[in-house]
Amino acid sequence: MPRHSGASGVALSTLVALAFCTSVSPRAAEKQDAQDFTQIERGRYLTTAADCAACHTMPDQKQPFAGGRPIETPFGVIVAPNITPDRETGIGTWTDDEFDAALRQGKRPDGSRLYPAMPYPAYTKMSREDVQDIRAYLATIAPVHNQVEPNQLPFPFSVRAAMMAWDALYFQEGEFRPDATKSATWNRGAYLVQGPGHCASCHTPKTVLGGDKTEQAFQGGVIQGWFAPDLTNDKATGLGSWSAEDIVAYLGTGHNASTAATGLMAEVVERSTSKMTKADLEAIAAYLKDQPAAGHTATAVQATDPLMVAGGAIYHDVCSACHAIDGTGVPHLIPSLAASPSVHSTDPTTLVRVTLSGARSVATDQEPTAPAMPAFAWQFNDEQIAAVLTYVRNSWGSAAPAVTAHDVETKRVELKTRGEH
């Protein structure tokens, strides 16, 4: 069995040990019932909502939850650990308390600290019951023998003890408390967004130490070379012009009338939100639509600006065939540049990246088409790309800071480093 990387004798003895130990392991003492269908089903759903697979399953999805995926952080690479029930390399020997402490307190069984690449600052909002349901589900999946060394950070970040200070600064332990003045739907949405959904992990900007800038919650942040856009109700940069139905369609299918999920969000849709219930997506939408607007303001670059003139010429020549002269695109197929929040983000990272490298939108059962944006890095220089992006950010009634040739150059270098163009 090639999936067991060690000698087959080792793998076999592991299995025997597992079978033998079920009656004497600590788990048995904790009232875990491997046949509790309801708990396991709830756990499976919560595992999906929490998108554990995003990090703990490799993109080829051959060995679910066996870890090994490198997670890029501003401080270096952390490799997602194996969370299958394998007793040697997974979490097969963890107790319920240890599992709970990892998810809700950021503590490892040996008492040392997790890095917040594991979103325990969000999972702390979950109830112990929900966390145990996830555990019950994970206990049912196939154990995979896969040794992972998660901590591959450079010194001094490799010192886990440093995370005690980080936790003191940025980590607020505590379960989600419903707001009695809001509806049950709103509270469910708030719970999903703040807790298992861990939306803030990407969408809230970070301090230099990687903590949330809580005063700018959900206003968008840079992650792994993308800009996770503003989720507030800002009309230009956020969800202000989207209806609740637009949000539900986007999360459920990866596409709505104005835009499509790509990059990291494509993975989130594919593995998590497209598998959630419509009621939960509606709850998320209800909560997000009730948030204030970030209130970003920008002065439009004048149409007579040479950058705009050059950009307009390129746009009409190259972009307008698909995105249309008025920037409206084709609903559900070609994004509307006039209405897509990513186009007008304060930080143009995603826009520049997609233009240079191209991007494929996500395919889901409801929206299987998965149209793609072609790459333009080979065709245009930095000045030309800066011009056309400045044009699309400042046309059709929109205003956003100009994109500079330096922005494009920086991104080009970064993408080369990533081997993406």
């Binding site: 191209g358 409801q366 299987p368 944006m373 072609p374």
Partner: protein, 592 residues
Amino acid sequence: MSRKLPHKDVVIVGFGWVGSIMAQELTDEGLEVIAIERGPWRDTATDYPPTYDQDELRYRIRHELFLRPDQTTFTFRNKMNQTALPIRTWGAFMPPNGVGGGGVHWNAETWRFLPSDFVLKTHLTERYGADFLPSDMTIQDWGVTYEELEPHYDRFEYLCGTSGTAGNLQGQIQEGGNPFEGPRSRPYPNPAQPQPFSHTLFGKAARELGYKPFPQPSGNMSQAYTNPLGVRLGPCTYCGFCEWFGCGNYSKASPQTTILPVLIRKSNFTVRDNSEVVRINLDPSGKTAAGVTFVDTSGEEWEQPADIVIVSAYAIFNAQLMLLSGIGKPYDPLTGEGVMGRNFTHQTISDAVGFFDNTKFNFNPFIASGSIGMCIDEFNGDNFDHGPHGFVGGGYMGQVQSNGRPIETTPVPSGTPRWGAEWKAAVRDNYLSSVKPGTGVHGSFYSYRDVYLDLDPIYKDRFNRPLMRMTIDFHDNELKQNAFLTDRFAEIIQAMGAKKVDKEYRQGPYDITKYQTTHLCGGVIMGTDPRTSAVNRYLQSWDVPNLFVVGASAFPQNAGYNPTGTVAALAYWAAAAIREQYLKNPGVLIHA
């Protein structure tokens, strides 16, 4: 020695339109399906994105999307007493290669054949008498009727989002459509594309001459469309880079833009690209296919066992695979016996180019789509009385000018020098003010005793298998047909106001170097009699009942239309027969 792969329910050879449709239908039935494709995987964003798909040199002149003749080719001769030679660069037709097949680079002209086309022999004999037909003409009835295929034409049109104007809705003739078409159960899924100036002018002139012009049915989207599988297409941008090119704008119906996004998500479907099937394997009885053997790019040979084998490659390769696998009796033109290779046909294309006063006419020919155009059908099939003319067959004709691409679009009046300053001046004077339809007259090519396919006695491919030999020439019937149709076509162009019309008749002998169409047909034809057809009315091999050979290879003769609509309808028809009849009781569907 080949290595054996795990068994599948169905193996599909060739993954173009037919392969995709069969795979979609049979995976819907719950079967485990694998498709094996000789060429590469192809996808819009990675193979022909809009950033460079409009490259005439790369795709049109240098044949980027087609089979490379150094991988495999055919030999060609006009007459049976000649020695055939290998084709070393494609000319008269363009063999597709890769996932999506011809569906990637077609113009998307999406026609239905006439009801009488399917019963051609019976119809012509009844109307004109058997003696009216040339003695060496071997036309046959198909064994399937238009009425039987109608629901399957309809499925394909709705899959593709075909743009058009219905001419016959459930027997009611519709203004603005083709009044000669067979009854259709419902309108086209999309309205016809708007027509550019010269196309509109052709329609007006045709109407004034008493004809009933209509927009060509088109797989280029007149508006955004979501097909029944949930796959979305965008509106055509009229870029004029359609045939020979992939569409970077998701605007041309192809397997990639209509089926594959759904198919590749299915867990019971797999595809092997860059793998060439070298034979169909039979069990010791010789009456059941055991699967196929293919070779990958490393030269490794693999055996793919399957319960059902679908052969759905380009027509000529379908015939070759059958001959090389020893299935069906090879056709012998001397005795007229045998079926494999029989009734090989192509198309009879000609043109008339109109030159107009450039101070009064500016046609902007570059504004076009692959199947834009106004057509008339008065001279197709048996829509007119052939009695006085001494030939049978016909074709549609129209101003179907699909591009104004710079390398090829250099129409100059006859008598202009072929090069130099005078030629350049003439190109400049005429580029915007000439009418140069790609296939102005799209005529039928009926079948003959001495037009056929067989295995070449001399030339071999890289596996040391004989190349396919084509023996093909035009017969008087087709040349007469073409002269008559070209004259009628030229009259309409003249009536548009041309100051000069150059007629470019199709003349013999058949020339392998000049592009006509890619519509090679026949070789594994369908019919009602195992002595004169290789497959029955359900495209099932008469000899090996778990083998279906689907495609234009099944056409007993070619009609005066582009074949893809009929090819796809036959695929849905065969798939329905497998789903509704064969799977319930695997075996012979028609007892001859």
